[in-house]
């Protein structure tokens, strides 16, 4: 037997969402018990698998062993009954033959969706939804999550505990969802996964390498969701969107961790494989003719990805897509993005007219003033541009954002 046991880690990690999700169903929504049972099953796997080799279906093995250990655990607490002999629980082949018929794909599918969905409880702030998903579904340690969110471990521990309590109070719906419910849940989960992705994607400077794993995890979960729901166009769109954006990761920051705008990026550093996969998934999604916000955003990302040079970008098409997106999800931020596209497709003046009415809604939004300043600068209204940039710096959330605006201000003082 080789000593390299990383295959066990990999197998446990990839079986986790399915196993925890099924255990949650067995334990009627008791998250802590489901997690403990999974941990117990992992320990047994570490004892058993090196010798006996991997079971045919690791998730089924873990669910079966976890469920029994959970039951034992409960029994032991009540009556102090000794554990049964290990062999009766952990003989891989018997376990699988026994389980094979009882665990069918459809049930797994709804289990995993349910597990992701309970993390999206509407009372939980977005950051808690994401933290919870990373802890429960992905199995990241509290320390890993804390470092990704740049907070202390104890603060993250508290957040997760609070979030779990909130979910426990709310109770979990175990009825098999109908088609409409399922689609709605998928939409909520897709939005959460995209938030998770953006949490990693918007990182810059020293944080970038710490937070990059969040993007990878979001993509991994999106692929999992897509494997479970292969005909959902929005899940294809979500996966495509993430892949197309992630493809630009290497070109997005300079050596000092400062943001490089799309039009200034070295496009040869974009990851062609990820782009191709993103385009293939989007192509597949569009055949369904069930448009949704994820697909529209992916289509916008695809138009950028397809342009070999910035000047090849199909801006009129991007304006149209933002118009569609705004109709689906009216929001001043999307209107602002549309204005940026209009500034390229038509003129900075037209874009300025469009963003004027957004002022009150985006009074505290960094990008609003960044865009406004840049548009004013383009048409030579330097004094007004300076006012907008000053406001943007005041609203910057990261040093990289502030540094980016400062470069604009430097250009202005040179031309003054």
């Amino acid at each position: 037997m080789t000593t390299d046991l990383t295959w066990i880690d990999t197998a446990l990690k990839s079986a986790r969402p399915q196993a925890v999700a099924a255990l949650l169903r067995y334990f009627r929504g008791d998250l802590d018990r489901a997690e403990e049972a999974f941990q117990e099953a992992c320990l047994r796997a570490l004892q058993n698998w090196p010798e006996k080799g991997p079971p045919r279906d690791p998730a089924a093995w873990l669910i079966f062993v976890g469920r029994n250990s959970g039951i034992d655990d409960a029994r032991r607490k009540q009556k102090h009954v000794a554990l049964p002999e290990d062999d009766s629980l952990t003989d891989g082949e018997d376990v699988q033959d026994d389980m094979a018929e009882r665990l069918d794909g459809a049930q797994y599918r709804d289990d995993i969706l349910r597990l992701l969905f309970i993390c999206c409880h509407p009372d939980l702030p977005n950051t808690q939804q994401i933290a919870l998903a990373l802890r429960i579904v992905s199995g990241l340690t509290v320390a890993e999550i804390a470092s990704a969110f740049l907070v202390s471990e104890s603060a993250m521990e508290q957040r997760i505990t609070r979030a779990k309590r909130r979910i426990g109070e709310a109770g979990t719906e175990f009825a098999t969802p109908g088609a409409a419910d399922r689609t709605e849940r998928l939409g909520v989960v897709a939005a959460m996964l995209y938030l998770l992705f953006n949490e990693g994607y918007s990182a810059s400077g020293g944080e970038a390498h710490i937070r990059q794993p969040l993007c990878n995890e979001a993509i991994r979960l999106a692929r999992l969701l897509l494997r479970l729901f292969p005909s959902e166009a929005e899940v294809m769109g979500l996966t495509a969107l993430m892949l197309l954006q992630h493809a630009r990761a290497a070109a997005r920051l300079d050596e000092h961790g400062e943001i490089i705008l799309l039009e200034d990026q070295d496009r040869s550093r974009w990851d062609a494989e990820l782009i191709h996969e993103g385009l293939a998934l989007l192509d597949k999604a569009l055949r369904h003719k069930q448009p949704g916000p994820m697909q529209v955003q992916a289509a916008i990302a695809a138009l950028h990805a397809r342009a070999a040079k910035p000047e090849d970008t199909d801006w009129p098409q991007i304006v149209q897509l933002y118009t569609t997106l705004e109709r689906m999800q009216p929001s001043p931020v999307i209107a602002l993005n549309r204005a940026v596209a209009v500034s390229k497709a038509e003129s900075p003046e037209a874009a300025l007219d469009m963003i004027e009415p957004l002022g009150p809604a985006l009074a505290n939004y960094f990008y609003f003033f960044g865009v406004k300043g840049a548009l004013l600068q383009q048409i030579g209204r330097d004094d007004e541009a300076r006012v907008a940039f000053d406001r943007a710096i005041a609203l910057a959330r990261t040093p990289a954002e502030a540094a980016h605006i400062r470069r604009h201000l430097d250009q202005l003082s040179k031309t003054a």
């Binding site: 295959w7 990999t10 197998a11 990690k13 990839s14 991994r220 692929r223 999992l224 897509l226 494997r227 292969p230 005909s231 294809m236 996966t239 494989e273 191709h276 996969e277 293939a280 998934l281 192509d283 597949k284 055949r287």
Partner: protein, 130 residues
């Protein structure tokens, strides 16, 4: 004799490999394939995209287009085509066009998978089966 070597592994596991590990695996295999290429014994190498990018055209009485990979186990892999078309729609049309041409009313499936990588062959054309 021409041989095809089909690669099987657990997709979720391979997908979870960090890029460095993936590169290392490819590099190890290239020790073999580079040598074959020098000897003119290497045909095209293709790497398929994830099964999530797959679309299956099932044929029987009527061709049916299904999202996802071919999932049955009672049929065997009998062959493959590589085509270069503009969109999945076009690829589906090609598969539909070939479906049901057996004339015996039999059933089967074409799984359409975009290619992740394609390295053209070094084998001399004249050695190919015509």
């Amino acid at each position: 004799m021409l041989y095809a070597i089909l690669c099987y592994n657990d997709e979720a596991t391979v997908e979870a490999w960090p890029k460095a590990k993936d590169d290392a695996v490819i590099a190890k295999r290239r020790i073999v394939t580079d040598k074959l290429a020098e000897q003119g014994k290497l045909g095209p190498i293709l790497r398929l995209m994830n099964t999530t990018a797959a679309t299956t055209v099932r044929y029987g009485a009527e061709p049916v287009v299904i999202d996802g990979p071919f999932a049955e186990t009672k049929e065997q892999l009998l062959g493959l085509y590589v085509i270069d078309v503009a969109s999945l729609e076009e690829a589906v049309e090609v598969a539909r066009g070939m479906a049901g041409r057996n004339g015996d009313g039999g059933s089967g499936a074409f799984e359409i998978r975009p290619l992740r990588a394609f390295i053209p062959d070094t084998v001399k054309r004249e050695t190919m089966i015509s």
